[in-house]
């Protein structure tokens, strides 16, 4: 399953709600404001980092760039993709579940 997250997971309740439903071998893709949680200095970054031991974590590169999050501050467990990569993730990891605030 591909999980889309479009808001920062630093909010404790949301993090618990979503991260608790991610199963091993699922894929997490952070888009839009969701990428803000992937800055290594962001609250909740440690939780996401530990999650990378069981799931693959991706971020949409244009959304990272739009928010000024560069490779230097991005969590090391995060792989960046463009829209072509987004489509490929959806093809290879269906179904797709969107998570909203």
């Amino acid at each position: 399953m591909l999980h889309l997250v479009n808001f920062p997971l630093s909010e404790a309740e949301a993090a618990k709600r979503i991260l608790g439903r991610v199963a091993p071998k699922d894929v997490l893709l952070f888009i839009e404001n969701g990428v803000c949680a992937l800055d290594s200095g962001a609250p909740g970054a440690r939780e996401i980092d530990s999650l990378a031991e069981v799931v693959e974590i991706y971020a949409l590169l244009p959304d990272l760039k739009a928010r000024g999050i560069g490779a230097a501050s991005l969590l090391q467990c995060v792989q960046t993709i463009d829209y072509t990569g987004f489509v490929t993730l959806a093809v290879e990891n269906g179904p797709v579940q969107s998570w909203f605030r």
């Binding site: 479009n6 839009e32 959304d63 829209y83 489509v87 093809v91 797709v96 969107s98 909203f100």
Partner: protein
């Protein structure tokens, strides 16, 4: 040389947020374009909740800004995608009083969009290999 067979899938997209107030519509648009460039099909985009504002034909952003409504219209015309606007969502937002105002509604919406009901989303979801929902921050 070994050629890997690429799966060609059918996508149905739902857009739930208004243009200019959140990014969901633009993300959906860019996803749809990328999917079609890779040879996949995007049969229908269903505009629901505040997503119906993407269909307002009178949207007139300044020329140096993105015209989100225009982008959808162009995609619909060029790629023959069915852009469906939820009638109940537009009624809730006061665009029309009853479904019999359909002619009035058709005058409000931009080229490439059409008004219909939630059943169109169910139909698209049944036929699609993948469904994606965008812009649910409401």
């Amino acid at each position: 040389m070994v050629f890997q067979r690429v799966k060609q899938l059918k996508f149905a997209l739902q857009v739930n947020s208004a243009p200019y107030s959140s990014q969901g519509s633009e993300t959906a648009y860019r996803f749809a374009r990328a999917a079609m460039q890779l040879g996949h099909e995007v049969d229908r985009v269903f505009f629901y909740f505040d997503g119906v504002y993407n269909a307002l034909g009178y949207s007139a952003p300044p020329e140096d800004e993105k015209n989100v409504v225009g982008l959808w219209t162009t995609l619909a015309v060029q790629k023959n995608i069915d852009l469906v606007v939820c009638v109940s969502a537009v009624q809730r937002r006061g665009w029309a009083h009853t479904e019999s105002d359909n002619e009035f509604l058709q005058g409000l919406i931009a080229k490439g969009f059409r008004i219909s009901g939630l059943g169109q989303w169910v139909d698209a979801a049944i036929k699609a290999d993948r469904t994606l929902t965008f812009g649910g921050d409401f």
